[in-house]
């Protein structure tokens, strides 16, 4: 095991960035059996009140996990994660998952980091804000 990097309040996580559209969503639908018209058909997206079809909240959820896993490393653990899906990931968006450390607790050699995490579109509008707790080893 390599030594764990030090972590401090204010640290920003390496962003996880994806160009999004049917190529991402169809792959995710195929593994999660999530073939819902609003995620597959622009007409269905428009009927639901949005300009195009839009991606699964569950895929943004995975992007937040990908962000946290890269931060925690193979030996770290995601203890808690929550987010609200506030904005649609419509077709063609660049979605970026970001995070910043808001608290660090070190007890008996175990380091636990609390973070604000979110996904945002290419204009910086937050799509899925949330919080996380990660245990680092």
């Amino acid at each position: 095991m390599s030594p764990r990097k030090p972590v401090a309040v204010g640290d920003e996580l390496e962003p996880f960035v994806r160009e999004t559209g049917f190529a991402n969503w169809n792959r995710y639908a195929a593994v999660n059996d999530e073939f819902v018209p609003i995620h597959m058909d622009d007409e269905a997206g428009r009927a639901a009140g949005y300009p195009t079809a839009f991606g699964m909240g569950n895929l943004q959820w995975s992007y937040l996990h990908n962000l946290l896993r890269a931060f925690a490393g193979d030996d770290g653990e995601i203890v808690r994660l929550s987010c609200q899906f506030r904005g649609p990931n419509t077709k063609g968006m660049t979605v970026t998952a970001k995070g910043v450390v808001t608290a660090v607790d070190e007890t008996d050699g175990a380091v636990t980091a609390t973070l604000d995490v979110w996904t945002e579109d290419q204009n910086g509008t937050k799509l899925a804000p949330g919080t996380a707790v990660v245990r680092l080893r």
């Binding site: 190529a23 991402n24 792959r27 995710y28 195929a30 593994v31 999660n32 059996d33 999530e34 819902v36 018209p37 609003i38 639901a48 009140g49 699964m56 909240g57 569950n58 895929l59 959820w61 995975s62 992007y63 996990h65 990908n66 896993r69 193979d74 653990e77 995601i78 203890v79 808690r80 994660l81 929550s82 987010c83 609200q84 899906f85 899925a128 949330g130």
Partner: protein, 165 residues
Amino acid sequence: MLDNTNISPAMAGAVGAEISRTTSYPIDASDIRRWAIAVYWPQQPPVMFQVGDVAPEEFNPFAWAVAGSVAANPGAARDRNDPDNTELALGIPGPGLKFQLNGGLEVEYGTRMRAGDVITSVRRLGEYSERDGRLGLMLFSRTEDTWTNQDGELVKKTVSTLIRY
């Protein structure tokens, strides 16, 4: 409660009820690998998901097919695209709204899922609430889902919010 509400007495009375109890097939390493490829695409996923047996935390072992499932209302038609599917699974009429969206998730993780694990999910109906939104009166319903593995260890507890309008 709003004057114009979609929360019926039957719905309010069902809060806390068990919706379903579902058991997965044993997790296959190939399913873990495919999941990781999909959520990291177009980059390669971490090696641990390609050659190891550990699953990403958010992996869904219930996708496509399950080994067994008992619903509160076994006769209910199972259509996840039906916005009333939660209430129908409980044997009560749903609000009859046209659209549904994933409103959010809160998860507390326990032990990791690994290839060969058999996961059991127990879903319970949480609270209902309503508020006016851009698209009209929005119904929020919460579902609590507890997963355990074949050894009875907690895998995760999830509270999900469904938005219907």
